[in-house]
Symmetry: C2
Subunit: 135 residues, 2 copies
DNA sequence: TCATTTATGCAACAATGTTGCGTTTTTGTT
DNA sequence: AACAAAAACGCAACATTGTTGCATAAATGA
């Protein structure tokens, strides 16, 4: 699974990368760099940052940012690649203001946004509220 | 104008705040902290950060973040206050990938997002593409 | 004008992320 | 299986961005 995923994105399968990817696969929601660090026994901080960067560049994970210094990472759908991060037109991000978890949710009906005189390439939607678990 | 704006948000009208607010009023689009710094002759960095924070907390400006370490600030519509930043349900943010400007655009038809079993309080929409000027 | 409250400016610190570089590991090829 | 090339690792040092504490100064309401 882990090996296959790295291979499919043309990333070298080093022990550290497998470990970091394993962290993502074990988490249902988006996680922060600090979350990742907490789940690794010992690691080099610089290598972790470079690993994250290469995961993003190769379409394995994507970054989610929100006002208030919220920065998280989450696995991409399989279709993502370095040339095309398609998730922005397929799923939205939701922040629960109770548990503070960030969810990637798939919308079947994605709204269409037209702006007169503008060419819109992609749309990103972020919602805030209360999640199904906290409700 | 500047005085009135500060007073309406119950912020003390100090020379520095008037100067910073003036920078926002002179810019059509969202600006970064670095942009503000470049437009001030001499200033204290800490005071600037505190000024920005209090402007945000009092509904005078709002923060716009996007993946890739993009962090900008823009004036709020008049209706915003510390208790209610309404802009999130009234306008969207658009990043032009040519000029890299970030626009606050008002949408008359704001899409409605319903997520089964979730309570959605607010929606933020961010678009990317090419702006009317670059087109 | 005066007292209270808030903002300012300095120093020091904290968090987060990056660059350079020599060494090690992975990979595709012999 | 061994080897060479390419990429990743790990260390040090640095860069950027933002915060806290505190003494002084300025703004506000009485």
């Amino acid at each position: 699974m882990i090996e296959k995923l790295l291979k499919s994105k043309k990333l070298r399968r080093t022990p550290f990368r497998k470990e970091v990817l394993g962290v993502f696969l074990n988490e249902p929601n988006a996680i922060s760099v600090t979350d990742i660090e907490a789940r690794l026994k010992q690691f080099d901080r610089i290598t972790l940052y470079r690993t994250i960067k290469s995961f993003i560049e190769n379409g394995l994970i994507h970054e989610i940012v929100m006002p208030g210094d919220i920065k998280k990472l989450a696995l991409c759908p399989d279709e993502c690649s370095s040339v095309n991060h398609v998730h922005t037109t397929q799923h939205m991000h939701f922040r629960c203001r109770m548990c503070e978890n960030i969810f990637c949710l798939n919308l079947h009906e994605f709204p269409e946004i037209n702006i007169p005189r503008f060419k819109v390439d992609s749309i990103e939607i972020q919602g805030t509220g209360i999640c199904n678990i906290c409700l």
